[in-house]
């Protein structure tokens, strides 16, 4: 076993009895969830159902009140010291974080840096890459998301779709093992959604990453994911292969949710 591992499983991500509250509001209660290596899981469900919360917990942007979350069988919210679980140290959590890349709904690009500078900031600082090396690598990644002519553009000079593709490139430049997409197309104009979905589709199809995708794009979720999880009130109330979830839903609330989404589109 590696240092920090509590056991050996074949799972990439494990949520174990997780409880998360914001004040009086209980978002997750006794939540359990497993993800295989290189699996792509689409997370669907109404707003406020906890989809975003599990991504934010994984990215360590939020603290949970109870339970443990593991990546590669190492807990991310506690660490093992002398066989006891204690609060994580800074270096421990940063080692865990280096495995995860996250793409936000609102891009969150750094406005004072060019596309290329956005991409190399983390590799140079956290992976010890030389600047030339990082520039080289980031240019290739920007090329792969179709932005070979936008290296030196600032976010304000790019369209929403282009900004989100820079954000994806920036996450990829960290060489992550896990990619988290938090409603990546929800703040885009309709005509730009396609270009971003194409990039995400390629990433999922490459089978190089474990992907969690919170989305309202049902067609896309159905097409690319290995598994779809339907969230409601902080719990996965139905999950399975995309065909099963979309063509033959069992749960009443899922049926209602899908019919409403279909009506809207």
């Amino acid at each position: 076993m590696l240092e920090g591992q509590l056991f050996m499983s074949d799972k990439k991500i494990i949520f174990e009895n997780v409880k998360k509250t914001y004040g009086d509001l209980i978002v997750l209660d006794d939540f359990n969830f497993l993800v295989d290596p290189n699996e792509s899981v689409a997370i669907i469900g109404p707003s406020g159902s906890g989809k975003t919360t599990i991504l934010r917990l994984l990215m360590t942007l939020e603290k949970m009140q109870e339970g443990l979350v593991y990546i590669d069988d190492e807990p991310i919210n506690m660490m093992k010291v002398n066989d006891k679980l204690v609060p994580v140290s800074n270096s421990y959590i940063r080692r865990i974080r280096s495995k995860i890349g996250m793409v936000f709904q609102n891009f969150n690009l750094f406005p004072h840096m060019t596309a290329l500078q956005n991409c190399i900031e983390s590799p140079v600082h956290t992976k010890g890459l030389s600047k030339t090396q990082a520039i080289d690598e980031s240019k290739k990644i920007l090329d792969s998301v179709g932005l070979s002519d936008k290296y030196d553009n600032y976010p304000s000079q790019l369209s929403g779709g282009q900004q989100q593709r820079v954000a994806i490139a920036r996450a990829l430049a960290m060489r992550p093992e896990i990619l988290l997409f938090d409603e990546p197309t929800s703040s885009l104009d309709p005509e730009m959604i396609g270009e971003v979905l194409n990039v995400i589709r390629d990433l999922i199809k490459s089978k190089k990453y474990t992907v969690l995708l919170a989305t309202h794009q049902m067609g896309f979720a159905k097409e690319v994911s290995d598994r779809v999880c339907f969230f409601n009130d902080g719990n996965i109330i139905e999950e399975g292969k995309p065909e099963k979830i979309f063509n033959n839903p069992k749960n009443e609330r899922l049926k209602k949710f899908l019919s409403k989404i279909l009506e809207a589109s």
């Binding site: 990215m59 942007l61 406005p111 600082h125 304000s156």
Partner: protein, 222 residues
């Protein structure tokens, strides 16, 4: 009304020009100290140590709720009784710096709060250290709201310097009063002081404007 041009050109303007250096000197030094002091006050006030944060908050409150003139008098006339005797200019600079530091602290805090939370989250997601996040990502962006507000302080300190005439600092207002007493003629001297202040304010406003545009260009590329 007849304006005494001879007095204006041969006495008032030369002596005021000389005194302008004192005004500029006091203003610039106080301004620079306020920039640093503001940062220190902000850090102390937001300290996780409750005692430090309470002491800083109360101190800021005391400074802000007493007139600047009283603070200057206290430093100049009051401190000697505690064995601290300071020259007038130094007393003035200390008072100006303290007063404006407390205001700067608030400007810094507001500037940092104006940065969207998502920027900090992106830093976490990219695994950047706190120090790196602050100095490379957050601080440069916060300059956009902070710089114009700091510009107002610079102009504000300029306009407050006549207060120092109460402790006989030879800044322009004080010199203008002296000229008035010497020649029994206040109109020329006082009016010219007013014009001097307009010019000084315009120059500092222009300077701040240049810096502001530079920051905007380099930070948010407008």
């Amino acid at each position: 009304m007849d304006w005494d041009w001879e007095l204006t050109l041969e006495v008032v303007i030369p002596r005021l020009l000389e005194a302008t250096w004192v005004t500029v000197y006091v203003t610039v030094i106080s301004f620079l100290l306020s920039l640093v002091g503001g940062l220190i006050f902000m850090i102390l006030k937001t300290s996780k140590n409750r005692l430090i944060s309470i002491i800083a908050t109360e101190f800021i409150e005391i400074i802000r709720s007493t007139p600047l003139l009283i603070q200057i008098f206290f430093i100049f006339f009051g401190l000697p009784r505690f064995g601290i005797t300071l020259p007038p200019v130094t007393s003035g600079i200390i008072a100006f710096s303290l007063y404006n530091s407390t205001l700067c602290a608030e400007v810094y805090r507001a500037g940092l709060l104006a940065i969207p939370k998502g920027q900090w989250e992106a830093c976490t997601a990219l695994n950047l250290s706190f120090v790196r996040s602050f100095f490379r990502i957050i601080f440069p962006q916060s300059l956009v709201p902070i710089v114009p507000a700091l510009g107002n302080f610079l102009v504000g300190i300029f306009k407050e310097t006549p207060i120092l005439s109460f402790v006989a600092v030879a800044e322009i207002m004080h010199v203008a009063k002296l000229i008035g007493y010497e020649y029994y003629e206040f109109t020329e001297a006082i009016t010219t002081v007013g014009i001097f202040f307009i010019i000084l304010s315009l120059i500092s406003a222009k300077l701040i404007n240049v810096i502001e545009n530079y920051v905007r260009r380099t930070v948010i590329h407008e």
